[in-house]
Amino acid sequence: MSDPAPRSMFEKLLYVGIATFFLWPFVQLWSIKAIPVFESDAHLRASVALENLMEGALSRPFERSFSSPFEAIPGCEDLGLVGRVEILPHPEFPANVLVRTQVRWGVFPLTKNLSLEYLRARTRP
């Protein structure tokens, strides 16, 4: 038996390339944090809940600053969906406020969140 020879740099790059070719789709799935065929319904529900949260926040009386903790969203308890509303002065346009809503679900390593922002003025255009 002969002891194995070290591979050349070219061969090592070739192995890395082949491995990347095989594993790249899984990397992409990891990067979007979802497997579309299984989790698209959860995403759809979360996005609708996000819009509802935003519309609710916009129909509140005008405030310059407001922040709520993450609270469970009724109707989506099976998903474990929690959402929050933040209202903060816009960093560049002092007359406007930024309304930001976020929803979050999932357990720690696979936590997903969606956020939506809306620029609001005190007076209507």
Binding site: L23, V37, V48, E55, G75
Partner: protein, 179 residues
């Protein structure tokens, strides 16, 4: 001496980590083929149809919300909840159309319909955007609730056409922008 060392390190055989790499690729390929068979299965087709149905209703609700949110004046329900809602729209010129001409959405006969009414009658419209009337069929408990002066909530429960999903609840909150 150096010559014999070089000869001795010639490439023969297959190393352990090459076997491991081969096994990993084999596992990935096997898993992928099983997964593709699963993607072709009836279960998956049914799930896709269900999702398409839900997404279609949500797209339709987007259109309805857009129409209601941008109505020039929201007339009914003024408070409480109702199975129908009516509002005045703005004309393309920006003028308000006469108050006898109103548009609205009605939950009736297990469906949601886009209607127009005037002093004489209420008639169904042909379509709302790309959605033909009735906008939703097989829906129950549909109502429009005026939660607060600037906020309307639409909620209903719907069954999918093939009967695989029952009582899926759809809720939309709308900020009435012009109130």
């Amino acid at each position: 001496m150096n010559m014999t060392m070089t000869m001795k390190t010639s490439r023969t055989g297959i190393t352990l980590w090459e076997i491991a790499l081969f096994t990993v690729f084999l596992a990935v390929a096997g898993g992928a083929s099983v997964f593709f068979f699963f993607l072709n299965s009836d279960d998956m087709k049914r799930a896709q149809q269900k999702f398409a149905w839900v997404q279609n209703i949500n797209d339709m609700l987007d259109e309805v919300s857009n129409e209601i949110a941008n109505s020039a004046q929201f007339e009914h329900p003024f408070n409480g909840s109702s199975r129908e809602c009516f509002f005045r729209t703005a004309a393309d010129t920006g003028a308000l159309v006469p108050s006898v001409l109103e548009e609205g959405f009605v939950f009736a006969d297990g469906s949601l319909t886009y209607v127009a009414r005037n002093a004489a009658a209420t008639t169904g419209m042909k379509r709302l955007g790309r959605f033909a009337n009735p906008l939703v069929t097989n829906c129950r408990d549909g109502k429009f609730t005026r939660v607060s002066p600037g906020r309307l909530e639409i909620s209903f429960k719907a069954d999918s056409p093939d009967g695989s999903v029952t009582s899926r609840e759809f809720i939309r909150v709308i900020q009435l922008r012009n109130q």
